[in-house]
């Protein structure tokens, strides 16, 4: 069915989330919805499936104007969303999860006709290509399987429009392939598919058409055949963004800050060996769950290792806790989840920055932390990293994403860390701040001699920053790709090399 949006607007206090957005989604097409964080994607999705009522404008399905007041209204009209967080009743069976909203149909006397229910659920599983027993416990399935079950549930409800919201964010590469096969099948069957993702490679692979939002406005709708990665990015950010690689850093292959040999952690990392040269930026590229973050977290003692050796500055070390990593070996780790486990949003900047070094600021007699020294350390680092804030006493939660990221990095500089591991440095920061963060990371290596590992699933980011890139797949390091040989060259050859290893 054709889904048509006409002049949708939606405001929240202080923001115009959607501003006169019109677009048409055709049956038998996979239509990507793109935009940066804050562009209005989520609001639009919620308007389409009935969670938010738009302030102005109408939604039409095959010409019929829909009045959607809730998610349930959307479902009744055949509009279904499969969320990025996969929601299931984990204590129930697969069949119960699929049929939870249709139990009425299976009523028999005072109970349910379980045989019929399970048989119908088995049909649904077959449609989505899952060879599973419908009576199995759903909690034991992988994220990808749960997602397919959710799609199956939508199909069993006779969905006409299916919204896939970041469907690949928590599944592995081979599972993505399986998902895409299903998506293609659904497309041939005439379903209207809306695909929300920020992974442009996937959009280019699976989608027929794209609609781009920026600042709540509809920027354009184009056939994918007419687009390239660059033109899509240009539509999203409103200007050309060349991937400008930083100059290569001269490093000595024998001068290793960190040397890891055959490191393993059960279920997380298999047989990892690599060296981090002094003063270099080393890239860890891979999907979520590929072992890159897990390796980093094993290195700093957060996960227990089961085998392998680690050398810091040539000397073998045992890192059994983060405290040891920070204090003894000067290894700092900037978490990928800044807001969840990286920062104390309710605390002020100086507390956040100086937390790892309180011991050094303590008066041995009174046991008190020296407040003026604490403030000075924070103020100096804020200046060095150009943090935009009212002062060291400002609440970290009130800073922008880019400035928060600088605070997370400043913390480890305060602790004099020589080795920095930065996990997904530019998640949730805007394009301008992203460039600043990149410059900051590169400067740390180039001018301060820090040895930096950058973990990222953002290929342009890692190509522009890293002089060498380790590629992760299924808990292993599967390859080692040199970064760009010279500034100004295209990243194509590097990204193709990485792509080959990931396949």
């Amino acid at each position: 069915m054709t889904l048509e949006l006409v002049g949708l607007s939606k405001s929240f206090p202080g923001v115009k989330a959607l501003d006169d957005v019109s677009a048409t989604f055709h049956p038998g097409e996979v239509h990507a919805l793109l935009g940066e964080n804050g562009a209005g994607k989520s609001t639009l999705i919620k308007a389409i499936c009935g969670i938010h009522a738009a302030d102005a404008g109408v939604i039409k399905l095959d010409g019929e104007t829909l009045k959607l007041g809730s998610l349930r209204d959307g479902l009744n009209k055949g509009i279904t969303i499969v969320n990025q967080e996969i929601q299931v009743f984990s204590e129930a069976s697969i069949a119960e999860n699929i049929m939870i909203d249709k139990l009425e149909l299976y009523r028999e006397g005072r109970g349910l006709n379980w045989a019929r229910l399970n048989a119908d659920a088995a049909d649904v599983l077959e449609r989505v290509g899952l060879d599973l027993d419908p009576e199995d416990h759903i909690g034991d399935l992988s994220a990808a399987q749960k997602q397919l079950v959710q799609i199956g549930k939508a199909l069993s409800r006779d969905a006409k429009v299916l919204l896939l919201d970041e469907p690949t964010s928590s599944i592995t590469a081979s599972e993505v392939e399986r998902l895409f096969k299903l998506v293609r099948d659904l497309r041939s069957s005439g379903m209207t598919l809306i695909f929300v993702s920020h992974k442009l490679e996937e959009v280019l692979e699976i989608c027929d058409r794209i609609t781009v939002l920026r600042d709540g406005k509809h920027v354009g709708t184009e056939l994918i055949a007419d687009m390239t990665r660059e033109t899509i990015v240009e539509m999203m950010i409103g200007r050309k963004l060349l991937i400008e690689a930083f100059p290569r850093l001269e490093t000595d292959a024998d001068d290793l800050a960190l040397e890891v040999t055959n490191l393993a952690a059960p279920g997380l990392v298999k047989d990892a060996s690599f060296g981090l040269r002094r003063g270099e930026v080393l890239g860890f590229y891979g999907l979520v769950g590929s072992g890159r973050t897990e390796l980093a977290r094993t290195l700093i003692g957060l996960y227990a290792k089961s085998a392998g050796t680690v050398k810091v500055n040539g000397a073998p070390v045992e890192i059994d806790s983060i405290g040891t990593a920070i204090e003894k070996h000067r290894i700092g780790y900037v978490s990928e989840n800044r807001k969840e486990d990286g920062l104390f949003l309710d605390f002020d900047i100086e507390t956040n920055i100086t937390m790892p070094v309180w011991k050094r600021l303590r008066n041995p007699l009174t046991r008190a932390i020296n407040g003026s020294r604490q403030r000075k350390i924070a103020a100096d680092l804020m200046e060095a990293l150009d943090v935009r804030a009212t002062g060291p006493e400002q609440r970290v939660g009130d800073l922008s994403g880019g400035n928060q990221q600088k605070i997370s990095i400043a913390k480890w500089l305060a602790a004099d860390c020589d080795i920095l591991i930065v996990d997904e440095p530019s998640v949730g920061v805007d394009v301008g701040a992203k460039a600043m963060i990149h410059k900051l990371i590169w400067d740390l290596a180039a001018t301060q001699g820090k040895s930096v590992i950058v973990i990222s699933s953002d290929m342009p980011e890692i190509i522009s920053l890293a002089s060498r890139i380790l590629v992760f797949k299924e808990q292993r390091i599967v390859g080692d790709v040199p970064g760009l040989p010279e500034p100004g060259q295209t990243e194509d050859s590097v990204s193709r090399a990485i792509g080959r290893m990931m396949a």
Partner: protein, 324 residues
């Protein structure tokens, strides 16, 4: 004293001023409403009860700060009191030694609670709900329900004596609150307690051994509960197994009215002081206005709920203020 949320700035926060203002308002109302309110006898009694409540509240607040709770505070106090009574009365040991033994027992209970929480990973609600019954059972098993009445006069003097018209206990409370304030304001341990309660994952990634911190909080909590129990013995003049039985509501009420965040990460010594005062004023006031005391728990429960709702409203309001 600061609102201790690891944010520098104002000497007294709006929230603290609010709690303190409420306490002063109550004092004024009662002073006007009742002639007997500001008599020396009543002031002595009020401040003494406030001081006792403070130890009860600290035992709870120190756990709340870390994002945990301790439902067994009263049971620990009872066990400490009975241990003291048994050693001083039945065994006839010198009372300073008995104090040490009794406090060792309370620290032991804190260690046990902390061990189950951190090493076995059971949440604090479940752990302390269980130990509440375990410790209470031991209290009645050992004492068989009888009080130990043979308490040395020099020990009773602690809970009964006064200096400049105010009970000794009041000065002990001020000193303890001062130490608590200093700990949270200046020491690494105090700040790590706040950090752990504010965001446990971030604390771990900052190199804080949160298990050690939570164990420390349990030990301190049991110590405050134990000291509270002993002071109660000293005031009553006998070690009664029922000591601590009605502490649960007091511990939460004073801590929460006093501005301790239920979700962790925030405590204020000044607020606790005012919270304790509000608590005794309300209890005292209910008697003065001849309210039916059988309804007391309903009043206290309502006040806790009201405080939480006010706190919630303030959070929402300040989040809105930040956004605009």
């Amino acid at each position: 004293m600061f609102m201790q949320r690891l944010r520098a700035g104002r000497i007294i926060t709006g929230a603290e001023a609010g709690i303190l203002g409420a306490a002063l308002l109550l004092v004024m109302i009662f002073a006007i409403a009742s002639d007997s309110f500001l008599t020396q006898y009543n002031v002595f009694n009020l401040t003494r009860t406030q001081s006792l409540y403070m130890f009860v509240a600290l035992a709870q607040a120190i756990m709340l700060v870390t994002g945990n709770m301790n439902l067994s505070v009263g049971a620990i106090a009872g066990l400490t009191a009975v241990t003291f009574g048994y050693t001083v009365d039945t065994l006839g040991l010198p009372w300073p030694l008995c104090v040490l033994i009794a406090l060792s027992v309370s620290l032991g209970t804190g260690f046990f609670n902390g061990f189950v929480m951190t090493k076995l990973g059971v949440n604090s609600f479940i752990v302390t709900l269980s130990t509440l019954f375990i410790f209470t059972g031991i209290v009645y098993g050992v004492s068989e329900g009888y009080s130990y009445r043979n308490i040395p006069a020099s020990f009773k003097a602690i809970g009964r004596g006064s200096f400049l018209g105010l009970p000794y206990l009041f000065y002990l409370m001020l000193g303890t609150l001062g130490a608590v304030w200093y700990m949270f304001r200046y020491t690494i341990f105090g700040r790590q307690l706040l950090a752990t309660g504010s965001n446990k994952e971030a604390a771990e990634l900052s190199g804080i051994n949160t298990n050690r911190i939570i164990m420390g909080a349990n030990l301190l909590s049991s110590l405050f509960a134990g000291v509270g129990g002993l002071l109660w013995v000293s005031r009553l003049g006998s070690a009664q197994p029922a000591i601590g039985e009605n502490w649960l509501i007091i511990s939460f009420a004073v801590a929460i009215i006093g501005g301790t965040a239920l979700a962790g990460g925030r405590i204020t010594a000044l607020g606790l002081f005012a919270g304790g005062l509000i608590m005794v004023l309300i209890k005292n006031g209910l008697i003065l206005v001849q309210a039916n005391v059988y309804f007391e728990q309903a009043f206290l429960g309502s006040i806790i709920l009201l405080t939480i709702l006010l706190d919630r409203a303030r959070e929402v309001w300040s989040a809105k203020a930040r956004k605009s």
